[in-house]
Amino acid sequence: MATVEKRFLLQVPSATRNLALVREFVGTVGQQAGVNEADVSKLQLAVDEACSNVIEHAYGHDDTKEVVIRVSYDAEEIRFDVIDNGSGFDPKGIPQKELDQLIAERKKGGLGLRLIQTLMDEVHYEIGPGRKNQLRMIKRIHSQ
């Protein structure tokens, strides 16, 4: 297990085809950090959701933009920062609708942020539209 902090960074063009690479990256670093298999899957899903939001909402599928994923871990926890310099948004201003309501409205989404909250132990936003928007997600390490 890690005693000092280890840091990784991945930067990819803002396109959904790169989500697979993002998940591989998260999986490898999570495993190396000593995260158990079930939690590694949760990390992959949470970071996928965060990056999917950047690709779709922050950059509107403009693949000349880039998504940055920063990871660091020590013995206690693993931290992911998903960073964009796109539009930004007010996380508190997003209505959290129930699934039955979303279905009644024929919505194809609206579950990503909730999923991230459920999968991770801590979620923080730092929003600076057009400059730097950062979603920080933290998970405690239970090595198994």
């Binding site: 959904t16 989500l19 699934l99």
Partner: protein, 122 residues
């Protein structure tokens, strides 16, 4: 590759079975959406999604189920799922899909369910 995805299709009487394989994420969801749309276009609205080959699903994949099911049900059909691997099942359950969809253990059970309850009644 960790982003391969495909959808197999087979017809069992009045029921059509779609078998998504691989990774269902924001990249591959449009392909899955098209596969369901194609069934509706052919007038089939009794759809079983056999998830035994589905290794990964994100909310973009779940969104495909959400976007279609209301219309399908209003048309007298349903979308039912079966054979989820534990990792995928967990995502469905985390978000409460098991309360709004029939999710069966096996394909025969899902077919059976269509015979007994073609329309969703909760």
């Amino acid at each position: 590759m960790a982003n391969s995805f495909s959808v197999d299709k087979s017809v069992q009487g009045e029921v059509v079975v779609l078998e998504p394989k691989g990774f269902l994420d924001a990249h591959t969801a449009p392909e899955f959406e098209a596969a369901i749309q194609a069934q509706l276009d052919e007038g089939r609205n009794r759809i079983i999604v056999d998830c035994s080959g589905l290794t990964y699903i994100s909310s973009a994949g779940l969104g495909v189920f959400m976007g279609f099911v209301e219309d399908v049900r209003e048309g007298g059909g349903d979308i039912k799922m079966c054979a989820l691997i534990p990792k995928v099942r967990q995502v469905f359950e985390l978000l409460g899909f098991h309360q709004l969809f029939h999710i069966e253990e096996t394909l025969p059970e899902a077919v059976d369910r269509f015979e007994k309850a073609p329309v969703w009644e909760g």
